[in-house]
Symmetry: C2
Subunit: 275 residues, 2 copies
């Protein structure tokens, strides 16, 4: 199945991937070169896991999870497999977010800094809790076979809206976190003196916004959506007894060689609706 505007999609996807990758490099550069590196010791090096895990997990992986249905070379894979990949990426992102919060609480407690006083912490904790809720509802509604198809369809607009809103909010909360950390950590030279560390981390913030903007663009283009499994569905609803032959033919047509084994369960799709 060909994608409309494939060239532009490839540019947007490559840019998102490259910028996301640079963000990870920059956050590692920040904590490893300018700060005290990474450790799990209750000190500043434990705190440093917070930005690293947020950028790699809660932003980069969540972004990839959002657009995983858009990748045209996955369109021959079953929708069910893609749902599992989407859920798994979001689950890993959630685990990264939880560990990153534990790192901050440990650091605060060891240094006698109060927890949960800042707007960053209020919105960040809310985002993690709502993300967990989104994950639980998403699995319950889209991965548990017993859930009625009508529920799945009715919940989809809210699932998509909440997902994009949470992703955007997480980036906004990260920008607040960057602001806080640069003000608190930089001293002689201070943040306002624009030392190299401040420039590097400001650039990280700008790139996080660009990454978010690209993911949102890719996710909201109607013409880049995974097509409904029209070919298979049409074949299925056309005939009764000849299903097997037709399905096999459609399946090999879709699989197109290389990925045929990996996506073998495409055959099963014809017997039920995908959402």
């Amino acid at each position: 199945m060909a994608m409309e505007g494939l060239w532009l999609f490839s540019v947007a996807l490559s840019a998102a991937g490259a910028i996301g990758f640079i963000c990870i490099i920059l956050v590692l550069r920040w904590v490893l070169y300018f700060r005290k590196g990474l450790a799990w010791d209750g000190g500043a090096a434990e705190f440093n896991w917070h930005p690293v895990l947020i950028v790699t997990g809660f932003i980069f992986l969540q972004g990839i999870a959002i657009i995983v249905y858009r990748l045209p070379w996955t369109w021959q894979c079953s929708k069910k497999m893609m749902k599992f990949i989407h859920a798994a990426l979001n689950l890993v992102a959630f685990i990264f977010a939880v560990i990153s919060m534990v790192a901050v609480f440990d650091f605060h407690n060891a240094a006698n800094i109060p927890n949960m006083y800042s707007l960053h912490s209020w919105l960040g904790l809310t985002a993690v809790i709502l993300y967990c809720l989104q994950l639980v509802l998403g699995v319950g509604i889209y991965l548990i076979p017993a859930t009625p198809v009508s529920w799945r369809a009715a919940f989809m607009p809210l699932h998509v809206y909440s997902g994009l809103l949470l992703f955007t909010s997480v980036i906004a909360v990260a920008l607040m976190g960057i602001t806080e950390k640069l003000i608190f950590a930089l001293d002689n030279p201070k943040y306002k003196d624009s030392p190299p560390e401040a420039i590097l981390v400001n650039a990280l913030g700008v790139l996080l916004v660009l990454f978010g903007a690209l993911i949102l663009w890719i996710a909201t283009r109607a013409s880049w959506k995974r097509p409904k499994d029209q070919i298979l569905h049409t074949l299925h609803s056309n005939g009764g007894g000849e299903d097997n032959i037709k399905v096999d033919s459609a399946s090999s047509q879709l699989s197109d060689g290389a990925d045929a084994e990996a996506c073998a369960d495409v055959r099963k799709r014809t017997t039920k609706f995908d959402d």
Copy 2:
């Protein structure tokens, strides 16, 4: 023309209006009660115009500008009139944003604080510049009659995406600004001691996010979009010489009494395409 889900729309719109209104009250309470009030003297009271103008103009008015086409009681008004209202609200929001930036530069310069060193300032200035570009392109493409209809249609997805992204970014930048200001301004008790001012302004930040979330929800529901002027358009494309009679009948059908005068130019719509 009836709106699908009018009850839910009314709830979302009322909530957005109420929350936006509370945000304006809170930002005024912040600067008038906890800070040094409002003045144009190069000091802290001049800085205070910054949050006040951003919340009232760049966030509240911009939010209203975004959803102005969604208000069902405007659907009988001409699209052209609504475009002017949309542009005017955005223009006022832009002017508020520019004045609010002047206030900060004046304050920084008088107090010998460097300008443009923080991520807040980088992203904020970028947002204002791109907002200006969006305004100029929007007027050029949708309000200047000479622009070809095909250009208008081709640019629309980018216009909508940029508009929503800029609105979201402005809120994110405001949250960073709140974070900065509370850290810099609160001293004995500090931000981390959670004095009443910190709680009030954190609450303002949470409400700004809720306001943004409601505006984005309202703006992205397909069923709440202003209907294409189907009735009039259908009538127009059906016949040739009988246009005037048909148009008048459709017009009075749409105007529905009260707003007939205000929206009299609805009649003109049938002679050209609206975008």
